[in-house]
């Protein structure tokens, strides 16, 4: 049985994504900080699809434990999907540097740490895939979330470099840029209904994109055009638009 490791398995996208991999016959490893919840999720996956599913405690920001975590997995996974990330508090980050460090650790440096460990293994095995869920927010800074967005921008660039490095080793690296998703991360915030997708839709896009060997996808697909238009607005105009 091939295994898929989901990093940040407490994310709303993780469960529907795990279901898709489980239905396709993959064993599932769920990793995040909230162990109790993951145990229930893992049991649910096994009941539904009859595959092996296990839960592991994992903190993206505790980089010193990453190697030990990866080596403790019962089986080397065939692929990994990184869903971890935090929005952080932009206002706080503007005043306190510690908040900046938190956001960078959770959205960039911590992920680089664990992905590099897995990448080295897959590179040696000459197989597998790495999926990184970044964000459309990383494509252009806005005043309401530019710390988060710049960390995501770093993550996107990291993934594109890694893709080039692993190409000759037959390891797929997929970058996912989701737009608005109805998740706990944006609970209570108003997002435009028509372009806000459900976690299930994004999970389906990630699974299909990974299985068909893609390098980069938007989810939903129309974000490609939204971002294209957004990025074409010149900076002198953007700054005067007073966008949130």
């Amino acid at each position: 049985m091939n295994y898929v490791l989901l990093i940040g398995a407490g994310s709303d996208i993780a469960r529907p994504l795990a279901f898709l991999y489980a239905k396709a016959g993959y064993g599932i490893y769920l990793a995040s900080r909230n162990y109790d919840r993951l145990v229930r999720d893992a049991s649910d996956i096994t009941i539904r699809y009859g595959v092996d599913a296990k839960a592991f405690v994992f903190d993206v920001t505790e980089t010193s434990k990453h190697k030990q975590f990866y080596e403790s997995l019962p089986n080397r996974p065939h692929g990994v999907v990184c869903l971890a990330g935090i929005l952080g508090d932009q206002k706080k980050a503007e005043r306190e540097f510690s908040e900046v460090e938190n956001v960078i650790a959770a959205n960039y440096s911590g992920l680089v740490s664990i992905i590099h460990i897995i990448a080295a293994d897959l590179e040696q095995r000459q197989e597998g895939f790495i999926v990184g869920v970044s964000s459309v927010a990383g494509e252009k800074g806005r005043k309401s979330n530019y710390i988060y967005a710049s960390a995501k921008a770093g993550f996107t660039t990291f993934l594109s470099g890694l893709r080039n490095r692993l190409f000759t080793s037959h390891v797929q690296v997929l970058t996912v840029h989701p737009g608005f998703i109805r998740t706990k991360m944006i609970d209570g915030r108003e997002t435009p209904g028509i372009i806000t997708s459900s976690p299930e839709e994004v999970a389906r896009d990630i699974f299909t994109g990974q299985q068909s060997g893609k390098d980069f996808i938007y989810s939903k697909w129309f974000w490609r055009f939204i971002m294209l238009a957004f990025k074409m607005i010149p900076e002198p105009v953007i700054k005067k638009m007073d966008m949130k």
């Binding site: 279901f19 239905k23 999720d41 649910d44 009941i47 539904r48």
Partner: protein, 440 residues
């Protein structure tokens, strides 16, 4: 946030909580003077609407499954579509399913849903082994037909008014294939349709699509659709993997249609096409189009436009002579307001205290919400009550206290259980207030 159910009417402003643990549910219940649970919002009207709503969609784990007898325990937010996805390939099917798979298990209990097999299998509650419910004081009770049976039968069909349904245990039924052996019988009018239902009672699944615009000798012209789960032996010559479903892709309705798109001419045209589509014959069909023909058009409710629509579904007891049914049909046909896709179905016996089914025939029709249709409903209500029938709470958005209390003979028994388990009357919906459930 703005919330509305399947009929897109009414649209209300509400606070929506989406807890993902029982502890969170308890905190929300303790802090809310009034609340109603909501699943997929597939009831048509205001049954799951109130100023404070508790969404069960994040309480959606399957907790246990026994593949020896099909018994399953899951949280209330698990959707029927998820159960089909996981268990059909392993040879298990829902014991009872309504015409959409996009409902939650909690909603199925609260509406005590029925399906095309009601005359032989009863409604959903008939297959429940137990449910776990959180009461207004925060306590958690497991009830079943044996334990706390009052609470159990008040909760099945009880529209979420006894508490928050947290878990349900029920039996799935074994199937050998995903296919249905289907027989279609065209009937010229309502007399033929009723006779055909009676003559084909032994079929597990039966339902009739009825053309409500047909008048005179054709009044009640129908296509009766019968079905049985196909056995492996019946289909193995043509399908290699008989448990692999291969349904067509769903088509989206990306925006609301202008409100005038559905008028008597387009509906008449549609009914003609639909009528021609069904010819009397036997065939094997995938379970998805058989049970969920409308699920293939995602968000089909938008076809009715932004002003919304409702479904008028009533049941008349079997003792009512056919003339009673005809009188109602004639009123609808003459109004010219009738809808496309009216559904006729034979029911078996009632289950829960407020469960809709009763032995007899039920008819369901969709209508745009207009002043004319509202007036028509008033006239229909009077006839339904006169004949000892009632309306389906999960479809209703406008019935009054009188129609409810006369239609539901166990309403007082329900209220006495509700007063016992929910003395502070915490669980209320816009519908429960309108039909005066607490004041009986």
């Amino acid at each position: 946030m703005k919330v509305t159910n399947w009929g897109n009417y009414p649209v209300i402003e509400a606070t929506m909580h989406s807890p993902s643990s029982v502890e969170e549910v308890q905190r929300i219940i303790a802090a809310s003077p009034e609340v109603i649970a909501r699943g997929m919002g597939r009831c048509y009207g205001d049954s799951s609407l109130n100023s404070t709503i508790l969404s069960t969609l994040r309480l959606n784990h399957i907790l246990a499954f026994d593949d020896r007898n099909g018994s399953i325990t899951c949280e209330s937010g698990v959707r029927f579509s998820e159960l089909l996805d996981a268990f059909v390939p392993r040879g298990w099917f829902l014991p009872v399913t309504p015409g959409t798979k996009h409902i939650t298990v909690g909603g199925a209990v609260a509406s005590d849903v029925h399906g095309k097999n009601h005359h032989v299998a009863g409604s959903f509650s008939h297959h429940l082994l137990s449910i776990v419910i959180l009461l207004g004081n925060g306590s958690i009770v497991k009830c079943s037909p044996q334990d706390y049976s009052d609470l159990f039968w008040a909760t099945c069909g009880g529209m979420g008014l006894t508490g928050i349904i947290l878990e349900a245990t029920f039996r799935m039924k074994p199937i050998e294939t995903v296919y249905i052996r289907q027989r279609v019988l065209k009937t010229k009018n309502i007399d033929e349709a009723f006779n055909a239902f009676e003559a084909n009672k032994h079929w597990t699944y039966s339902v009739a699509w009825i053309d409500c615009l047909a008048k005179g000798d054709s009044l009640g012209r129908s296509a009766l659709i019968l079905g049985e789960h196909a056995t492996k032996a019946e289909v193995e010559y043509r399908y290699r993997d008989p448990l692999k479903s291969d349904p067509p892709l769903s088509i989206p309705v990306p925006f609301f249609f202008p409100s005038g798109v559905l008028n008597r001419y387009t509906i008449k045209a549609f009914n003609e096409i639909w009528n021609a589509h069904y010819i009397s014959r036997d065939s094997f069909v995938d379970y998805e189009p058989f049970f969920y023909p409308l699920d293939f058009v995602a968000d089909w409710n938008r076809i009715y436009g932004k002003r919304g629509f409702t479904q008028y579904q009533f049941v008349l007891p079997k003792s009512v002579p056919l003339d009673g049914f005809k009188k109602i049909l004639r009123t609808i046909a003459e109004s010219g307001d009738g809808s496309f896709l009216a559904v006729l179905k034979l029911f078996g016996k009632q289950e829960g205290m407020l469960s809709f089914p009763q032995e007899g025939y039920t008819l369901a029709l969709d209508f745009s919400i207009t002043p004319e249709s509202m007036r028509l409903f008033e006239r229909l209500d009077a006839m339904v009550i006169e004949f000892g029938g009632r309306l389906y709470l999960s479809k209703d958005v406008r019935m009054n206290k009188e129609a409810f209390q006369k239609g539901y003979s166990n309403a007082a028994a329900f209220t006495s259980v509700k007063k016992k388990v929910d003395p502070s009357n915490k669980f209320q919906s816009l519908q429960s207030k309108r039909i005066g459930i607490s004041s009986i």
